[in-house]
Subunit: 529 residues, 2 copies
């Protein structure tokens, strides 16, 4: 495969190299009609806005490549084109707009329109999903699942008709950053400035490490979590009892267990957008379908929009303070949501992992019969690596269901880590207060610095993120990393294309240097976008 | 609700208290015809032998209670009756036999036969599942999901027609032990002899605890697991590389992640029977369906039976040495399975958590393109509570898929626990050798003791379990606990009714005392069963 074409591929995507256009078209037919194709497309039709990355990837990849081969002059297409094509083919104007705004290749669009008889580009194409009548009996008879080599992210299986042609696997190289996992383990370089990581750089309270020194337990603990830790947690929540808590492997497992426990095939879960990037995944993994409410001006919930979409959902997710926006929701809005969900009988999953990192007021704890609070020791006590989170809910049935599931899927949370968590709670209040002060200073510096650079962004009121608008965010993240030695996260990973997330979990001297490099980038490269 | 009736209920089961027989029958009709009822029954029809406990429970509960109310004299029914009724209604002779062997209430059976027009009791009733024509439009129009209060195990949601009658929730009390979780945290009593727990009583190597003393990390680790631990593990497996491993929250999460990663809706996973009790659950959670191969004489795999069922499955699970039987599979059988699965393109999930606890030979590591080895530090290094396990596979695509999923569902495994695991591997070989010697002595004592008591059982060759035949095992476990202060596990929890699992992870003096109590039980209570 020519390196020129290879450069156009998206890292982390599955590709098939096909010899001719007609074969590619045949393949598309087989794929669309196959059991797997139907599955993928069906999933897309319910999830495509925004689809989990893998779903976008697989569709983009297939059609993207088919398309690339169908053009005699085979232009180098970038990921934006792939996104546009994906949008075109699925009749999804959102993707189309995002992709085409960048690609601006009208000839390409015209050709695609003709090629796929999709109607006018940019118009919704409801017929595209309709079952085609193409007879694929001969293919189905000899079908076989073949795995396709993938890059760094999730691999996807494809239906493949072996009889048609041999499959050639191609290597993938690209400068586009596929996702947050690309950056994990990077950032300790003195030269590299990491605005990527969503974890405190300051250490946990000394109490936590001291506890570890004398730890001697080794047997299974209670699946629900150690009694003493749950008793201590109950003191933090008015009216709570130890049996209302389940200690989990971080907030991630907490949310996953909640989703799996409340799951009803095809049930809708209402997520904020921008969202923490795992939300849509865990919703989909549980067999449910993500729906979205868009955060409005200032990163606040537009209650009218929310109330419009909530009925018909099985659960809603609130994340205040928010990752990736850093915004905190108004108490009056949260109260209205409580009342609405109570009336509708919906679960409220309240991800409050940043509850102790709010600059202007105390956290407001959501109340209600079916409120499920998710929290963690990771951010408050800088214990990300130890993985201790929890679910708090007064819904006894849900708690018991989560415990039963955890019994089979991971058993107790690591006992030594729970012991540390309990010890961390013995740290004086000044530990958290000191940290909040530091976060606030950094927030002020970064926020002011970005305004000065002319960036448009919401003022963060908690957590440690800002999410400025930056067009063509994928390219920005790539350029900042490769050319300016800065790690930032593409807003597209959080459902916010054309935004870039900066975490300020790093020293002020580094923030300053980062702002300096960002200014240079904006004055040079970015001007040419 | 009268306490007399309450006593007859099964702990951990959902009940509905219905006011009259006719209402109960109406409810049954609604339930069978409802979306939920269909779901439950559909699941039962594919899973019922043996159904996950919750499925048995929900069906038993509904019909059990209906039945209890339909008898004017309302006898006290025990769990065995419920099981029998469940078997009768689903036309499942296996349940019928188990239940009725104990209940021996022919008048009860005659009444049931008449009441449900099910044909002769004990005969298979293939018509029971057939969609009934009862029109439930009026119910469906007003239906609402109502959760039913549950006892100690998993709660189950039921379809309920609100318009028909108010639901009354009842308290549950029973002497029947609902499942292994009932015993967790019990057993440190001096008086109580616990043959229950599946974990070493001897501590981890001192190296592990020493490591903990100087641990200072706190940030997120690699999702895949710490590089140094994976590098060290790779030395243990011929031809392995660090990238072939994923470190997980124990073997439980490893198996759960594998199932979720390979999941195809409705795909079949072939499990051994008797099985470790979580297997059917994680298969079902992943949207797949458990199938079973029965271990034959001596606890060995009957290859002919295995080869007969394997085609059409997506994956097969091998567990050698086995929990709960302690038996080890023959190398020649394992090699045939390797070849068969390779030919059929099936995943082999090999749960080898007891691989270092084999008495007569070294472990045989299964090989193959799609072999997924699951292992753990819990048993070899007595680190159950810390939760460090791993997946080892040369299937790069599967590994990458598992890492991607773990990124969203739990992130890295606790970094301190991984640090301990690495330190434990520095312990001299004598650590494991000494343990195996101790396990072997205990095995010999318990096995010989049981033969002497006239019990029928397979000779365990690894792990630390025996599984003697004992009729009416649920009652045995209950009686041994309440009357003889001994913890044992009901074989039914492992798909082996009429067997009881004894773990010998306890001191020889306690094993001796346990055998003495068991003898007394067999000579008295058990004779009257």
């Amino acid at each position: 495969m020519a390196s020129r074409t290879a450069e156009s591929l998206v890292a982390g995507t599955s590709y098939l190299l096909l010899p001719t256009t007609s074969v590619a078209v045949d393949f598309a037919d087989v794929f669309v009609d196959s059991a797997c194709g139907k599955d993928v497309l069906k999933d897309c039709s319910v999830k495509y806005e925004p689809a989990p990355r893998t779903m976008i990837a697989i569709n983009s990849a297939v059609y993207f490549f088919i398309y690339a081969k169908s053009l005699p002059k085979a232009e180098i297409l970038n990921a934006c084109d792939a996104t546009a094509i994906h949008g075109l083919l699925l009749g999804n104007t959102r993707f189309l707009k995002t992709g085409l705004a960048l690609a601006r290749r009208s000839s390409l669009r015209r050709r695609l329109t003709k090629f796929y008889r999709c109607g006018t580009v940019g118009e919704s194409n409801p017929n595209f999903h309709r079952k085609q009548s193409w007879d694929y009996t001969h293919a189905a008879r000899r079908h076989k699942w073949i795995s396709v080599r993938t890059g760094v992210t999730v691999p996807v299986k494809m239906f493949w008709c072996q009889s048609m042609l041999p499959m050639v696997q191609c290597d993938i190289m690209s400068k586009l950053i596929p996702g947050p996992s690309f950056f994990i383990g990077k950032g300790d370089d003195t030269d590299l400035i990491s605005f990527g990581s969503g974890q405190p750089d300051l250490p946990p309270p000394p109490e936590a490490f001291n506890a570890l020194k004398k730890y001697k337990g080794f047997k299974y603990g209670l699946i629900q979590g150690e009694e003493n830790l749950r008793t201590r947690l109950a003191e933090e929540y008015p009216g709570a009892k130890p049996e209302h808590f389940v200690i989990t492997n971080g907030a991630s497992e907490a949310i996953d267990l909640v989703m799996r426990s409340i799951s009803k095939q095809g049930g809708k879960v209402l997520l904020p957008r921008p969202y923490y990037y795992s939300y849509p995944h865990v919703v989909s993994y549980s067999g449910m379908v993500p729906e979205y409410y868009d955060l409005a001006e200032g990163g606040k919930i537009d209650y009218a929009q929310f109330a419009d979409i909530a009925p018909g959902c099985r659960a809603v997710l609130i994340n205040s303070p928010s990752n990736p926006t850093g915004t905190v929701q108004e108490i009056k809005t949260l109260k209205k949501i409580e009342a609405l969900c109570d009336r509708l009988g919906l679960y409220i999953i309240s991800d409050e992992v940043y509850k102790d990192l709010i600059y202007d007021r105390k956290n407001y704890l959501l109340h209600g019969k079916h409120v499920v609070t998710v929290n963690s020791f990771s951010k408050t006590f800088a214990m990300c690596g130890f993985r201790v989170g929890y679910v708090y809910s007064q819904d006894a049935e849900l708690v018991s269901s989560i415990v039963e599931m955890k019994n089979h899927t991971s058993m107790n949370t690591s006992v030594a880590a729970q012991f540390m968590a309990l010890a961390a709670m013995r740290a004086p209040a000044s530990y958290v207060e000191k940290h909040v002060k530091i976060w606030k200073e950094r927030r002020d510096m970064l926020y002011a610095g970005m305004l000065e650079l002319g960036l448009e962004l919401w003022k963060p009121e908690g957590a440690f993120y800002v999410l400025p608008k930056l067009k063509n965010s994928g390219r920005v993240v790539s350029d900042l990393y490769y050319k300016y030695r800065m790690i930032t996260y593409d807003g597209a990973w959080f459902g916010a294309p054309d935004h870039v997330r900066f975490s300020y979990a790093l020293d002020v001297s580094k923030i300053k240097e980062g702002l300096r490099r960002l200014k240079k980038f904006l004055d040079t490269e970015y001007k040419k976008y």
